[in-house]
Assembly symmetry: C2
Homo-oligomer: 336 residues x 2
Amino acid sequence: MTRPGRPVRVTQADVARAAGVSTAVVSYVINEGPRPIAAATRERVLRAMAETGYRPNGVARALVSGATRTLGLVVPELANQFFATLAHALETEASRHGLVLVLGDSGQSVDRESTLVETFVDRRVDGLIYVGVGAHDAIEIATSAGTPVVVLDRVADDDRAASVVIDNVQGAAVATRHLIEHGRRALGCLLGPETVPTARARHAGWQQAVHDAGGRVDPRLVEWAPFSKEGGYRAGLRMLRLASPPDGMFVASEDQALGLLCAAAELGVAVPGSLAVVSFDGTDSSRFSVPPLTTVAPRFTDIARRTIELLRSPDVPPRSETSTTDLVVRSSCGCP
Amino acid sequence: MTRPGRPVRVTQADVARAAGVSTAVVSYVINEGPRPIAAATRERVLRAMAETGYRPNGVARALVSGATRTLGLVVPELANQFFATLAHALETEASRHGLVLVLGDSGQSVDRESTLVETFVDRRVDGLIYVGVGAHDAIEIATSAGTPVVVLDRVADDDRAASVVIDNVQGAAVATRHLIEHGRRALGCLLGPETVPTARARHAGWQQAVHDAGGRVDPRLVEWAPFSKEGGYRAGLRMLRLASPPDGMFVASEDQALGLLCAAAELGVAVPGSLAVVSFDGTDSSRFSVPPLTTVAPRFTDIARRTIELLRSPDVPPRSETSTTDLVVRSSCGCP
DNA sequence: CTGAAAGCGCTTACAG
DNA sequence: CTGAAAGCGCTTACAG
């Protein structure tokens, strides 16, 4: 019996003693190999494990085997629904492979991000999934320790790490074309910070679609704002107060689109009547906004599948993959 | 030089050799103790560490020291803004103490939750923070391994674990009283699943406030629905289509409130004109909804502080604490 | 102030 | 099919 409050840590040696075998045998039955154990012996060991309440020490295991069946994920901000959705998809896919996913939220801080990566690497995760805040120290830390890395939603500037990115250019272009098909001509664009490659790619897609339609880009209708509800709200307020405001807008994230809707409501601008909106992210937030948002949805499951795949069988040199998007049509664009 | 692609793992022994000292000395300089090292020796070791690119192996460290400076957090669903906000607050507080927080998302699955808890415990987190989906196996697993646990947002049914809970009854009562002060009399209540204690507590608070005001509880105006946008949307649709719908509603979560706002907009019910709404959670989602939601906000920082405190100095028997809430007034209740 | 050595709890060749 | 032993990379009494 375990004395309550003062738990006794039972080890493999205790089990071995109780079963009258060596610790090697206990290890073999736990891991079902690498050597065969007689059925009777196996039974004795199993019973001894149950009786003693033995739980293998994962730390010791990791030390000798080098593997932990654990994946680490570092994201900039879990409160952002996009990252939460991504994390969820990765979690599901990881567990399908018998791996557990542990997450770290860097809170947009480069320092915390490094700490997180170091923690994961030092504790020997079998792979690291990295959605960085900008500095790419993480890749260096992980690869120099021999931990496989996959960079998500960003491309590594060099070819040190594998990556999976969303096709931002085409997603943004498709969204913008949809606005144009609705007859909108004064097209605005609300983006993330200009320093973020994702934002620049979405801008390029928007621009391309406008040009292809023979339209002209009005620089006053392009805003670079933080990827947040507040960012979208403030930028939205500015743009909607313009003498000639846009009649259609592509918004680079759902949080920003939600902020924009709030600004529009406050100013009495009808959506989609006076302003058609298409956003980007495809999370649950857009389904029940007022009005529900038409949005460019990444294929989260596809991204997760490729990521785990790249982690499990690393290529040399590292491979970079692109995942496509789908336009999810709801009512903010003017569709019925 | 490290050969690229085939990282050489440099160990303490390598550093010791390079510095011409024993591994004990290397350990002492890394940990700044427990024994003093001559400044000159220390310099030599530091230089050797830099030259070899040494990084301590956290696994080996954890095995011998038993500590990892790491806290584990298990939540039911990160996509829920409430848990994401909670996680963020805990992360901030943990890092203030030099601890890193790793999270696990159980995706509402009892199985995954157990796996997560086992992983954390097996890998020797210094403490476990647990927001359970229902089954309390986790507490058993952790305590029997000697890992301190703090249960959040739920009370452990027995006194095996410390806990920090929000004052749900009073939060709901304050919200409901606010609705009454706005002159609303046909008060509805949209709750989480009846099996969730938090939902029951918020119901009790609502009921108490209605009674105190001399009102009567109309059972048709009480809905128990999933804690999600969709849950709120569907329940909202049902309730607003009633022959005599509510003119004020307390909603037990922000996700549900967002769903309700969507339902109201769809049915052309003006908020707050025809329906005043007060919700619960105090996350960022409520700031920019249409209209912005009045909400009962937990003190996330307070909860985080108490949690880390309980983890760092466990009491016997475990202590249970209650954290108060604040009513954040915006416009969905009818305030200007 | 520093070195040689035991030991944390496992896994896995090496022998039998 | 099983046991005795080395070793994973550290920390920390034990000696000097």
